[in-house]
Structures are given as C-alpha cells and as structure tokens.
C-alpha cells in the first residue's frame, strides 16, 4: 500500500527558490502602482489622543495620506482588540499603532511618519510584573482552554510530612519571538475584494479575521502566504501589519506594502510574558515524589486576557499523590502577550525541570534516575493511560549517547584550565493535538496528481512533508504529486501552530488521497478522460476523537563550560532524544528539533526583554541589544528520536515536533551551570553579571 515516501529524507521542495532568492515573501510580489505604509506607534503608555496634526506630514513630498482614528475606515469590533486599530483615541500601551502614513516610496513614508504630530492626555501606568502586585487575579481559564487551577490530594499536608523538600522560585523575563521576516503585508482592494500577501502562520484564520473586521464575506478576501520567514507563534493570528495595510489600501485605493520595523516587533505582535514561578516538591528518601505544587504568575494587557498556561506542564509530567497547580494574572498597561514557541510548556518545564534537579541534589539521587523513578504511565491529571509515553526510553538513550553514566554528581568537580565543566539533564514533553482541516485531491489525465490544502510552511518543511504524505496516501511515487499550500483560496486548514500542523493537515491529505483512490476505482473504464477531484473535511473525525492524554516526550542533555573568572557560560554540547511518533522527514525534523533546542539555549543564556517602568516599554527593542543565540554560540547541538508507533493519534501517526525541542532545554542548561559552578541561578538569562566573581566562591 505505502510507497514509502514518508520517513525518507527528502530535501525541501522550495530549497532551490530559497537559495537563489526567488522565493517570494509577503512584500516581494511585483505590484503595479504600489504604495508604502509606515506604522506610527504611540509615544505614551496610557492615555488618550487629543489631537492629530497631519499637515506637515501631508506636505512632505510623496506622502499620500495619514490614517488615524479620526479618518480611518471603520472596522467591526472583534474578539481581538489588538487589531481593532485606528478606531479610537484611547492608547492602552506604548507602541500601540495610532496612525499609518502612506506614501509613494519607503523613504517618503518613513519621513512622513516622523512628521505626524500627536498630542495625548496621559494617565499613570503600571507595566512591571510583581508577585505582590495589587492587581493579581485568578483568570477563568488559561491558554487555550485549560482549567486555571487543579488540586488532588492534600498538598500542604503531603508537603509538610515529607522528609525531603524543595521550595524554589524561578523568574523569566519577557521573550520576543523575532522571526527573521518581520510581520509584513501587501494589500490591495479590487472591486470590493481584498487580496493580501501576508506573513502569517495561518492564511485561513487571517481571511476570517479580515472578513469580520471589514464586514465583507470571507469569499471576498484572499490571503496568500506562500513563503513565510518564521513565526514561532507570533504570526498565529492576524496581526497589525495586515490590518493596517488593508485599512491603508482601502483609504488610498491603491496597493500598499507595509512591513513592521524590527523595533515594532517587540510588543504589538505579542511576546512571551515575564513569569514568576514557585515550585515546591516533596519526596521520600528514595526520591519518589509525594507532593508537587506549581504556582505561576504572569501578565496580560488591559485590552484582552491572555493567560500563559505555565503550570499545565506539571499536571501530567510526574506523578505524586498530592498535587496542586495555580495561575494568577495581572492586567498591566502593556501589549497583550501571546504565543511564543511552546507557550506554557516552555517556561513551565524550565521551572519544574530545574526543581527536579534541585530535588536530585537534595535527595542524593542521579537526576536521570530521579526522573525515571517518577515516571507515570497513567496521566496524573486525566487519570487515563497515556497513548504512548517514552520519556524513560528518551532518558536512557540520551544518557547513553551523551556519556552520562560516569558523571560525578559533585558540583564544581571538573575543571579544564580556567573553565569549570558541568553537565545537566531535563525532561521534555508537549501535547500531541490535531485540529480539523480540509483538502482536495485531483487525478489528472496525464497520471499526475494535485493535492491542495491551505497548510502554511513557516520554515518547518510542511510543504515537503505534505507532499510525502500525499504520495503515500495516493499510492504513487512523490514525483507524480504536486502539492499546493499557502493560499486561503485552497481548502481551509489549521494554523501552523501548537505543533499540530502536520497532524492536522496530514489527516486531511490522507483522507483525500484515500477518497480519490476509491473514486477512481469505482469509475467505469480504465482511465478517466478528464480530471477527477475529491474534497474531504476531517471536521467530524477529528471532532469525534476520544479525549486521551497524547504527548510527545524528550530528554535534553547539556554540557557547559563556565569561565571561573568572568562567569562566561559557553555551550560545549547539547543532545536531545525525542519520542514524537512517526517522523515524516528526518531532514526537516532534525532541523526543527535543533532549532527548538537552540531557542532554549538562547532563553537560558541570552534573551531578556528589559522593561523600564518610567518609559513603560522594553528598551532593548532591536537585535543589537536583545541578544539571541548566534552561530558561534552553537558548537554542538544534536537531535535524535526513537521509533515510536502510536495508533491513537491520527492516520499519519505523528505527534508534532515544532515545539518540544525548546521544552526543558533552558532547564538542562541551568542545571549544567549549577553542576559546573555550584551556583543555582533561578532568574534567566544566566549571564556573566550573575556569575562574575565565581573564583572568589571557591
């Protein structure tokens, strides 16, 4: 039945376009009469616009229009206040877009933006998260739809009665997604229809949002996202660029290109909230957990609630009779936080897997063994067996590949000249989900096939993976299959997020392939004379899937060296082993896993949004001052996976790999730093200022 395209290491289908510069991104399509939009951010944190003076801007050569709340086309209020832009004088956070300048050139648009004068009445603001903030409250649910708090047993009693206890508080700063391609859009209205090329993770979703905002039928909106320069969650919904470009294009009745600047990506398009996490673990003398409590505090904006599901990771990772998790929020005068690679699991695992390391030290058990000892085959949260859980296998395989066996647990025991050497480990887990999607499959008279689905390839390799899946579903060599994605005129499909793209899309592609084969089989005669097409939707099938605990797992191993004099931390090597169901394309899968691990390294050592309360915004809002991991920081990062078959997932048997690489990675780095130095840093990033003077500690 299977021709075996799935599982083979094909190079990316669009590889040639990407290395020759011919792959077109959102603002790179040739457009006649194009104009340029430049977004103007508010210069105050909280307030109200009292006057907009556009005279000087409009007098500047090339400027065609200045849109603001007083003259912009009206939008219908929707569920996403972040993109209900230029509709009201109220300012909710610094950097909120309050005007757009449209001009005949980029230079003129930028100059025009500089010349727009806006006066504000301002009020006091609060922009800094604190554990004792008076505005702390309990949200009704956490992202996307998890219970806010959970409790089983009696944590307080269980914790008090245990012989070994860990009580630690971990702090992480704001993180900014920073895909290399900024949020960017070309928009054009023609005869009441809106055509946009947008840098998005989900063109179907953007189409729906635009139709809602502009009150036009969805069929009148087309969103194309053929190549997308990364997203990491920040392009998971319609964002400011597409709405501003569409507003501007309608206003000037010409095509508009609008790309946000790098500085404008630090806030208005979402970011990972700063988080304060307290983790308490209790265990018996053998290291068996008896009580677990994870309390997380994070922020949201005043215009919409986004509650990072930080402690959800802890609900299902390790078992104990007494367990409790809580989430609390503060509404601050800040942009709304949003998805960033593994929202919830990423920061939550940093805290829990760090605390597990502290427990290993406290109880005197190897940290790999401690995790094995506390493995659970039944989900502690749902009370049902996991469909598959190979955490222990990942830990064992990783330990063997990494050379963990002879590790001396004593901190600061290894030294190489001025470098202190240490190793650390962390567990990793991410839910395996799927969402309904639809697809068509067409047989052509020449023996080739066309499969259409509005999947999005944001760099994951989705186009190539779906092509492989389609070939197997059709039972033909992939060379006979053409795959088309990245266009909202194609059958509607799930967003490229939540590590569920491949699971969701392949489900529809496989069903389409099967349905087409059946239809062809039932046709009279040998060869169809024209094209034969089937369209399928997985709405019912995905919706009817039983609720079971489905998770991917992993184990992350890290070796660092720390300069004993300066405190500089360098990565010697990082190795991850994952169990994520079937791997469709080993080449692109490895790249995704390594990419996630690297972003976790970046979180541990480099990234930090520095907010100044007086200014009310992040001050290091560019790539010179917001540091991300660069080439010399990565000496060795390797990703492996275990063969895993799980029949309770989806027809392709995949779990998703876009996010699990980042989960646990920062904890493994922090644990290695502790092993190297004996110093436990509980506030990321681990930079020299927190370790300098290390030699004096000897």
């Amino acid at each position: 039945m299977s021709t075996g395209a799935v599982g083979r290491a094909y190079p990316r289908l669009e590889g040639r376009e990407k290395v020759t510069g011919t792959a077109r991104y959102a603002v790179e399509y040739p457009v006649d009469g194009v104009t340029y939009g430049w977004a103007v951010p508010s210069a105050v944190v909280r307030g109200r616009i009292t006057r907009v003076d556009t005279a000087e801007a409009l007098a500047s050569p090339g400027v065609l229009a200045v849109l603001h709340h007083g003259n912009a086309p009206r939008l219908a209020p929707g569920p996403q206040p972040e993109v209900w832009l230029l509709q009201e004088p109220a300012v909710h956070y610094r950097g909120q877009f309050v005007a757009v300048v449209v001009a005949t050139s980029l230079e003129a648009a930028r100059e025009g933006a500089r010349l727009v004068r806006i006066d504000y009445d301002t009020g006091p603001h609060s922009t800094v998260l604190a554990a004792d903030h008076p505005g702390l409250y309990r949200p009704d649910k956490v992202n996307p739809n998890y219970p806010t708090d959970t409790a089983e047993g009696d944590f307080d009693a269980g914790y008090a009665a245990a012989p070994v206890r860990v009580d630690a508080t971990y702090r992480t700063p704001a993180y900014h997604n920073n895909p290399m391609e900024p949020h960017a859009t070309t928009a054009h209205w023609r005869d009441g229809r809106l055509l946009v090329h947008d840098s998005t993770q989900g063109a179907s979703l953007v189409r729906a949002t635009l139709a809602e905002l502009f009150e036009v039928p969805p069929e009148s909106v087309r969103v194309i996202a053929e190549h997308v320069g990364g997203g990491f969650g920040s392009k998971g919904y319609a964002k400011a660029s597409v709405v501003l470009a569409a507003l501007a294009a309608r206003h000037v009745d010409r095509p508009v290109r609008l790309a946000l600047t790098r500085q404008q990506l630090f806030g208005p398009v979402g970011y990972r909230t700063p988080i304060i996490q307290r983790v308490r673990l209790a265990a018996d003398a053998d290291g068996r957990l008896t009580a677990i409590c994870h309390d997380a505090i994070s922020q949201t904006s005043t215009i919409r609630e986004f509650a990072e599901q930080t402690a959800v990771y802890t609900r299902s990772m390790y078992a104990a009779p007494h367990r409790r998790t809580t989430h609390r929020l503060v509404r601050l005068d800040v942009p709304t936080p949003f998805w960033m690679r593994a929202p919830g699991e990423c920061p939550g695992a940093y805290a829990l897997e760090s605390a597990m390391d502290e427990l290993a030290t406290a109880v005197g058990i190897d940290p790999v063994e401690l995790r094995i000892r506390n493995d659970a085959q039944v989900d502690p949260d749902q009370g049902r067996p996991f469909t598959s859980r190979n955490l222990v296998a990942c830990l064992r395989d990783g330990a063997q590949r990494f050379g963990w066996a002879d590790r001396d647990p004593t901190p600061r025991a290894r030294r190489d000249g001025r470098w202190l050497i240490g190793t650390g480990v962390a567990g990793s887990s991410y839910p395996a989900r799927a969402r309904p999607s639809s697809a068509t499959a067409t047989a052509r008279p020449d023996g080739s096939f066309l499969v259409r689905i509005n999947a999005t390839d944001i760099g994951t390799g989705a186009r190539t993976a779906m092509w492989q899946v389609a070939a197997d579903a059709l039972g033909v060599p992939p060379e006979r299959v053409e795959i088309r994605i990245g266009d909202s005129d194609l059958p509607t499909a799930a967003v490229a997020g939540g590590s569920m793209g491949t699971a969701s899309w392949s489900w529809a592609v496989i069903r389409a392939g099967q349905a087409l084969r059946e239809k062809l089989r039932d046709l009279p005669g040998d060869e169809p004379s024209g094209e034969v097409t089937v369209e399928v939707s997985t709405d019912d099938e995905v919706g009817g899937q039983p609720t079971l605990p489905r998770y991917a797992y992993g184990a992350q191993f890290v070796e660092v060296r720390v300069d004993a004099d300066t405190g500089e931390v360098r990565l010697n090597r990082m190795l991850g082993v994952f169990a994520a169901g079937r791997i469709v394309n080993p080449t692109t899968a490895r790249s995704q896993l390594v990419g996630g691990m690297t972003m976790g390294l970046s979180m541990a050592l480099h990234e930090e949004g520095l907010l100044d309360e007086r200014y009310g915004d992040w001050v290091n809002h560019d790539l010179a001052t917001y540091h991300i991991t660069v080439c010399p920081d990565v000496e060795s990062i390797e990703a492996y996976w275990l063969d895993e078959q799980d029949d309770e997932l989806n027809p392709a048997g995949v779990k998703g790999i876009g996010e699990i690489g980042i989960v646990g990675a920062a904890a493994a780095v922090a644990n290695a730093v502790h092993h190297a130095t004996g110093v436990r840093i509980r506030e990321l990033p681990i930079r020299v200022d927190k370790l300098v003077g290390l030699s004096a500690l000897a």
């Binding site: 790179e28 990419g595 991991t629």
Partner: protein
C-alpha cells in the same frame, strides 16, 4: 527621470541623484531618492528581492550582499555612493544552468528553514571564504602570521553577523565547511 521598471513615481529632483552601477554583471542606471539604501534599491527599484530586510539597521545580516567582492550589509549603504561599483546579490551566485557549490551545499545540509536569512548567509559565506583565501584573520585566529585555517570555530566566528532564528547554524557550518573543502 525614469529609472528601473519599479522606480518610485515622485522622486524629488532636488533630493535625488542618478547613479550607475553593476548588479550581477549588468549595468543598472537609476535615479534615486538620496535616502535610498542599496537594500531598498535592489528590492523596490530593481526587482531583486533576494536580499532581505530583517532589521534595516545592520544588526541581523539578512541583507548581506557583495560590494566589489566584499560582504556588506546593504541596508547600511546609501545607493548614491555606488557609482561605478559592482554588486553581487544572491540572485547572482548561481551559474546560468546550475547552482553554485555553496548553494547546493545549503540544500544538501538543510542549512535553512524559513529561508529568510538564507540569501544573507550565502552572500556572507561567499565573502567570508574569499577573506580566508586572502589570509585575513578573525577574532578567533590564534596565529596572525600563519595562513588562516578554516576550522569550524573560524567558520562560526566569521558567520557571527548573520542571525538565523530558525537556528540552522550547525547545518550552515557544515555546508560552508564542505564548500571550502572542495574549492
């Protein structure tokens, strides 16, 4: 007055200049707003969108091109300074029929994911290999008097100015290493 096919429509005569320079082997003559960067000239006036705008401030490397053979961040170069000079972009790296070895190696090693930093990585790597061939040291070169040896540490250091958020770094290093070895 009219420059390239996509020239801006309202270039102010007093604040514009005519400039002629070579791009990927062909002479291009355009009248440009004096504020126009090389990057925006390529992307908005010459239809060459291979060079990418990641930050517009010389901080990410996505816009790297070769100027008279040396790698530059094209967002930091004003086009009016380029009269008579020669630019090679990612569109000019391949031969007429086949990819350059560097481009082929990037595909073979999966040295990119989203592809947005890739044109900059490729131009940077091309420029960097020439710098090594000329014996230019880097910050991690131990012996400044000896010929530069292209170790992985040297490749990493010399590619430090090209950010990749997808983090294809190990694969980029592998692709550059392979290309250097077969040069």
């Amino acid at each position: 007055m009219q420059g390239g096919p996509e020239n801006a429509t309202t270039t102010d005569e007093r604040h514009s200049s005519r400039v002629a320079f070579e791009v990927n082997g062909a002479t291009r003559e355009v009248r440009l707003d004096n504020r126009t960067t090389l990057l925006d000239t390529l992307r908005e006036h010459l239809g060459l969108t291979g060079a990418k705008k990641g930050c517009d401030h010389g901080q990410c490397g996505s816009c790297t091109v070769l100027l008279d053979g040396r790698r530059v961040k094209s967002c930091l170069v004003f086009a009016v300074t380029l009269d008579g000079r020669s630019v090679v972009t990612v569109e000019g790296l391949a031969g007429p029929d086949e990819l350059s070895p560097l481009q082929a190696a990037f595909i073979a090693h999966d040295a990119f994911q989203c592809g947005y930093c890739t044109p900059g990585q490729l131009c940077s790597a091309r420029g960097m290999l020439d710098e090594v061939a000329r014996g230019w040291p880097s910050a991690v070169t131990d012996d400044l008097s000896a010929p530069a040896e292209l170790t992985d540490a040297e490749i990493r250091e010399r590619m430090a100015g090209n950010l990749c958020r997808c983090a294809a770094y190990p694969h980029i290093v592998a692709a550059v290493r392979e290309t250097a070895a077969t040069r």
